[in-house]
Symmetry: C2
Subunit: 587 residues, 2 copies
Amino acid sequence: MKIAIAQLNPTIGDLTGNAQQILDAAQTAAAQGARLLLTTELSLCGYPPRDLLMQPSFLATMAETLAQLARDLPAELAVLVGTVLPNPDAVHDGEKPLFNTTALLLEGEVQRYFHKRLLPTYDVFDEDRYFEPGEESSAFELDGVWIGVTICEDLWNDESFWGKRHYEVNPIAELNRQGVDLMVNLSASPYSVGKQHLRETMLRHSATRYGQPILYANQVGGNDDLLFDGCSFGLNRAGEVVLRAKPFESDLIFAEFDPAVDELMPAAIAPSPDCADAEIWMALVMGVRDYVRKCGFQKAVLGLSGGIDSALVAAIAAAALGSENVLGVLMPSPYSSDHSITDALELAKNLGIQTQTIPIAPMMQGYDQALADLFAGTEFGIAEENLQSRLRGTLLMAISNKFGHLLISTGNKSEVAVGYCTLYGDMNGGLAAIADVPKTRVYSLCKWLNKAMKDELGGMHRNSYSSFIPHPASFPLIPPHIIAKPPSAELKPGQVDQDSLPPYEVLDDILERFVERHQAPDEIVAAGHDAAVVNQVIRLVTRAEFKRKQAAPGLKITDRAFGTGWRMPIASRWLPSTQPKAPQPVV
Amino acid sequence: MKIAIAQLNPTIGDLTGNAQQILDAAQTAAAQGARLLLTTELSLCGYPPRDLLMQPSFLATMAETLAQLARDLPAELAVLVGTVLPNPDAVHDGEKPLFNTTALLLEGEVQRYFHKRLLPTYDVFDEDRYFEPGEESSAFELDGVWIGVTICEDLWNDESFWGKRHYEVNPIAELNRQGVDLMVNLSASPYSVGKQHLRETMLRHSATRYGQPILYANQVGGNDDLLFDGCSFGLNRAGEVVLRAKPFESDLIFAEFDPAVDELMPAAIAPSPDCADAEIWMALVMGVRDYVRKCGFQKAVLGLSGGIDSALVAAIAAAALGSENVLGVLMPSPYSSDHSITDALELAKNLGIQTQTIPIAPMMQGYDQALADLFAGTEFGIAEENLQSRLRGTLLMAISNKFGHLLISTGNKSEVAVGYCTLYGDMNGGLAAIADVPKTRVYSLCKWLNKAMKDELGGMHRNSYSSFIPHPASFPLIPPHIIAKPPSAELKPGQVDQDSLPPYEVLDDILERFVERHQAPDEIVAAGHDAAVVNQVIRLVTRAEFKRKQAAPGLKITDRAFGTGWRMPIASRWLPSTQPKAPQPVV
């Protein structure tokens, strides 16, 4: 039995366009003799649809679109489509109003629905907000083959792999007891560094534990902050990967299931990215491309400071949109070094992007004069530093508004974490491309871009990178001086980042432990960090909450990004500290 | 049996300070002969603690603080404290890691825990993210009286009141079957217009249905976007309100339960606000006061345009913080009318607040010159309008940064809904005071302020308003011309809001139906609105999502505010419309 996997890149809420993608894949699959087509979780509306699910007209149109799609599909092809279904018992039994479900479309009709059983409600996920969990195992028979249907999280509860349960039931185990021949999964599993390795390791464990071949179809593409890496794959009963789709691109791949031996046969396996930097690069390029495109823009603008963050973002944007669609704006001040201009211009030349240069000294003087009386007798400080950043942000937004370019902001995760950034200044933008990329990773990405990426282009399958390279471009993409010089915001004479912050190697390790791994301050100190530095960093992170509240969406690449998965109060008095907060007697 | 209710205003995460509040209330209650003290939901950490619940040091310190509080409390007083408790079965059974619970403290120790059973996960609530529902009814015996303990949502599932179930179980019914004498509830129930009327109506239904006296203790105060109105109250078995605490202020009130007749006796009933405007005014004053105070600020700054929105916000800020702590900044442009200055100065005089005036023409020219080459040949448009707003926002932030005043933004809900506001411009601020107040309500609040509030000061109990009035102030607070003139952003000559938007009466009704009541476009048209206008408004709302994503927290006063209860994708193609989106055959 030939089975196709459509690794789709839906746009949220584009019901007609998403249905068209499914139909196109189905027609190709049918032409190639497939009997079954898997799509991805909520493939009809895109994942995550969020509160669109509360709009009655959205639900009604989705149901109509599904029915129409069933009629339009090749009649002989069974197609699994991700959609939502109203829960008829919601009002009577006090349940949630919808199911996150998979529809089996065949012979012009919706034949069955299979509901998602495990609903993630943590990190970026809010599924309990909308959905009631399905209570029954889901399987159907096709040409004598019993196929178990699961949706994303349903496969993420193997207690012998995790060493603990995340939910009471394990749908794989139940389906296995029912004797299904093949397990399929429709996913929208967001990317983070190393996620595909985790998926394959986890499902290898389940495939071998239950002696069960598994086909896993994952969404691809960027939807706001969330990136989906695709990498749909299949495992045979021995837990071997027998097929895999491309990372970070739409794909249509084929599996062959042999009913005689109840096993998946070897098929084409797309190469994985060679290293974490390659993976992150592709993720960010895809994320910028999809956000710009899905928001209806063609072009982007960004500020070029001559520093490494804006250099990386410019390279990402050029790769994502084409060099001709990126405008870099240089806005030197009297505090800017000469190299900030020369480095930025060299970068732009390497990338083939256009630039504009607008010195900001006249506007700085305008603000200084306007505020002279009010600020008389005060020292140069944060207010004056932020002014420079804000007037640059205002210029960039003027250009964005005038020409319809999307402004991309360039702050990295280390800065955003400790608040080393200006709200309404350099934080301006519709998308924060590298807001989840720690500064140390910014460096390694730039070094990889300059050396390894170029080298690897010769060595590996050309297709794997060809959609992810700036055209035209000359290597090294990032001028070496940008990588070599000490990072500086250049908002006052002689300023460098390390005047205010610990070295980035130290800062990033503390941040990873605190933000991503939820470690307590004492645990971080026990890992070898200085207590005073740990407390300083955590204090900065805590106090910068108000800035992050107003940040643009940032592309998520780590296990915990600031954004929808980070929900902190602002007006809070809690400050974690290595000093054990022994409760004082309250008298 | 004398029972006290401590209507507390906790600061999120201020474990020591919140414990001190509980101790202070307990000492007063004990001195007055109380046997039992109720506090509010999660009174130890404040509600909602959000992702602080993921920090291990926060949980550890909370447990230590609770144990210390138990030792510090008057030993003979039973005290119900809201806290969290780790779920020991989480790992083994795949459950959530915590319980939202009530600790019974007595004789120096924690005696019992009673877990919340119904966990709201909708609108602004995310309790399934953290908590496992309790499975057992919760009751304890004190001096022969059986007291059933419930937490907030536990009382919100009376299917005969709502006409439907929201959850499978109804804790009131179970406790009633177990024969409890008195039901108590620890709540953190957020304010929205008319919420207290709903609470009393709903609990009156339950009290009479089950013949059960109920004591309801509600949190008070502002925590970021959420406002808690207090209004703790008690109902006897006949469903009569027999006691009530003050609205929008901390309070300590006493109930008398007579075990001989199993009934609550009549006690003191604080007056309710006289009308919706009074209620909203108090809510907003409390919200601004608490946000500023809990963020560690004393003073606030805002832009005074001479328009009605900034007039209302200035009055709120003066009432919340004291007139001496509010700075109004006038930033006239060449497009500003004369009255924008005179009206703003008259307002400031009425409120007794300081002003600064900074004309922006020189800075506008600076930007125009800087952008002259790039913008050559283009028309004056959105870019130039936004520039004015952004340079004003930049000036306000410079003042905020220089003097440590919190910037309060002044946009109303109607503007924020349709995107009639400038990101990084007039949207700048740490708090958006009236972001959930529709424009029509802005008018009614100002009229109420000028007339009814003054009149009512004579008529009703002075205490009800004394904390909510600007000092010093002269009436009418809002200059009548500000209320009378047509609203305008004054960003180009002769501009008025109604050039771009439908009349506010129409706009606000459409918005309420679409945003708060989740009505489909066809339903809104059926209510009497023009289809083209409905589609225009919904298109504007949908396209402004990127602005709201980066907005400051806004004080929630309606059933659905933009903010934590509104979770929409940005890069989405869904646009609800009265044209039924009949799915086209996808060929």
